[in-house]
């Protein structure tokens, strides 16, 4: 065999940088240990929000970053997840651990139903269509009496902390661990996806649909697959959020702001990169929380101004997101000359 070919074949499939893996392992251990050091309620909440938004942004990253479809109505799947868990718990006493999966299933069904006609559109048209779909969910739920219409659902509180009801009133630490575990599982699965045959094919669809077609890739089907995966990732965050705040209404869980924020986080961190949503969430969520604390009721608007400013700076100076600050040889295999 040609020696250069033999060398190429003997290379490891993935660039495993032991130093990077050690840092990641250390960070995971640290994240599990943090509550043990007596973190106060605010910091637990801050981390919970970071984990939640990172997963939501990762969901958006799958459809937009991997397959190239800009969805502006992704909040709909968050809302579906939230309502599925709360409704089935309140009406039938179904544990959220089961209804989370129901929320994922319903979201997947809607992703297929929305995706089949919508994904025929491309570019701005798809984005605008999803924006309207997202808003229409909010309108429907505001008028749907079965799920509390505009008042929403007030989840029946358990008298004590309950793992089966996923309710914790004495400490936020259990929520912290639940969100952390979902965060880690999601990132690991999306990392695997990015390195799978499916991941390769989704990126082909994103980069050049015509070239993808010439390589036996059914572009429409792969877009739908990406949309369904994305919806399945988003829904559990709605479910867990509902159990976290125990009150949901259409303005809160179908808010257009959810769809916009996941977009901002992903673009800030680095779209199309598995690590981008983590970096984006770790920066934008604290800005949002601190501005809410220090600026009170007006904080909700000020954080968006911050977001806008940061995003403008990033788009001008680092269009590939903050992930591009990390040296390339850490993220990619070194080039051979």
């Amino acid at each position: 065999m040609d020696s250069k070919l033999a060398i190429a074949k003997s290379e490891p499939i993935w660039n495993t940088n032991i130093r990077v893996l050690s840092i990641i392992a250390g960070l995971i251990i640290l994240l599990f240990a943090l509550p043990l050091f007596g973190m106060n309620s605010f910091y637990l909440h801050l981390f919970i929000m970071i984990f939640m938004h990172a997963v939501m942004a990762q969901s958006w990253n799958v459809i937009a970053g991997f397959s190239g479809q800009i969805s502006l109505g992704h909040g709909a799947f968050f809302g579906i997840g939230a309502y599925a868990t709360s409704f089935f718990y309140m009406e039938y006493g179904v544990t959220p651990w089961i209804s989370i999966f129901f929320g994922m299933f319903v979201s997947a069904i809607f992703a297929v139903l929305i995706g089949i006609p919508m994904l025929r559109l491309s570019g701005h048209y798809f984005a605008i269509a999803t924006l309207l779909i997202g808003i229409s969910f909010q309108v429907v739920f505001q008028r749907w009496d079965l799920v509390g219409a505009a008042s929403g659902l007030w989840v029946t509180m358990t008298p004590e902390d309950s793992w089966s009801a996923l309710q914790f009133h004495t400490s936020k630490a259990p929520y912290y661990y639940v969100f952390l575990i979902f965060f880690l599982i999601t990132f690991f699965l999306v990392w695997l996806l990015s390195r799978s045959k499916l991941g390769y094919r989704l990126r082909a669809v994103r980069d050049d649909p015509q070239a993808a077609l010439s390589l036996c890739i059914n572009v429409s089907n792969y877009k739908i697959i990406a949309y369904v995966i994305s919806a399945i990732i988003m829904a559990p965050m709605g479910s867990l959020f509902a159990q976290y705040i125990l009150i949901i209404d259409p303005d809160r869980v179908f808010n257009i702001e959810i769809s916009i924020i996941v977009l901002l986080i992903t673009v800030l961190g680095g779209i199309g990169n598995v690590w981008g949503p983590i970096i984006g969430a770790a920066i934008l969520v604290p800005i949002s929380e601190y501005s809410r604390i220090y600026l009170g009721g007006t904080g909700g608007a000020v954080d968006l101004i911050f977001y806008g400013l940061i995003l403008m700076i990033i788009c001008i100076f680092r269009p590939n997101g903050l992930i591009s600050f990390i040296p390339k040889d850490i993220l990619e295999r070194k080039k051979q000359q």
Partner: protein, 240 residues
């Protein structure tokens, strides 16, 4: 054995007849060169055969299978690969990743797909560039990338749109040698080419188009002496 049979293929865009009543056969293992002036309908013909554009009328058979009206992904899955006149590499992915996407058609396992992609990259003499992003490659290298990517699906028939178009003179001989090397693997090739010397050198048969119509089909020597081809395309072609 005939690998491709095209019968009375026509396509109009509004009032413009891109292809009119085109018929020809391609023998398995041969190279068919397609020539014609700009706007003759060569690339449209490729799009019609590979399903990227739906023909108005006609028949296209790949071996015995009617592929008229079938979607491009299904046609490529049958074993019809293609490259594009306007190059379409997956720019933000490495050369290896580009070719692996094609290799996944035959290999489900990632290690085997990677090994197969590496073998093809080695075949097109780009093994040292395997980890370079497609956008970092020169035009000539991107032409090789597209050929490698199309080969990765293990095509029986490969349609190549302007292999030597847009590259410098020094790069052309290497690309021509690569086409000849490809033919030796047994793959049937249809190639659009503007460089008439190259077409005459590599082709077993030549199809000449002008204004969407077939004006000649036959062996290179016949085409070279065909009056219609000379008038439409060759001009005072120097056979030497």
């Amino acid at each position: 054995m005939k690998i491709l049979t095209v019968q009375n293929l026509s396509k109009s865009f509004g009032g413009i007849h891109a292809n009119r009543d085109i018929s020809f056969d391609v023998e398995e293992g041969s190279i068919l060169g397609v020539i014609g002036p700009n706007g003759a309908g060569k690339s449209t013909l490729f799009d019609l055969i590979t399903g990227f554009t739906k023909a108005d009328t006609g028949k296209v058979k790949f071996f015995d299978k009617d592929i008229f009206g079938i979607s491009p992904d299904k046609i490529s899955n049958l074993g019809v690969g293609r490259t594009f006149q306007k190059l379409k590499p997956f720019a933000d992915q490495t050369l290896l990743e580009n070719v692996m996407i094609g290799a996944f058609v035959k290999e489900k396992d990632i290690k085997r797909a990677r090994d197969r992609a590496l073998e093809i990259i080695d075949f097109v003499d780009l093994i040292e560039k395997r980890h370079h992003f497609a956008k970092e490659l020169s035009t000539g290298q991107r032409k090789r990338l597209e050929m490698a990517r199309a080969m990765a699906i293990d095509p029986k028939l490969l349609l190549m749109d302007e292999v030597t178009g847009g590259v410098d003179q020094k790069t052309i001989p290497g690309l021509v040698e690569l086409v000849k090397k490809l033919k030796k693997t047994g793959v049937t090739i249809i190639t659009i080419e503007h460089n008439i010397n190259i077409i005459m050198e590599i082709s077993d048969n030549v199809l000449a188009l002008d204004q969407g119509k077939r004006i000649a089909f036959g062996e290179p020597k016949e085409i070279q002496n065909n009056k219609q081809v000379i008038d439409a395309y060759l001009g005072t072609f120097d056979a030497a």
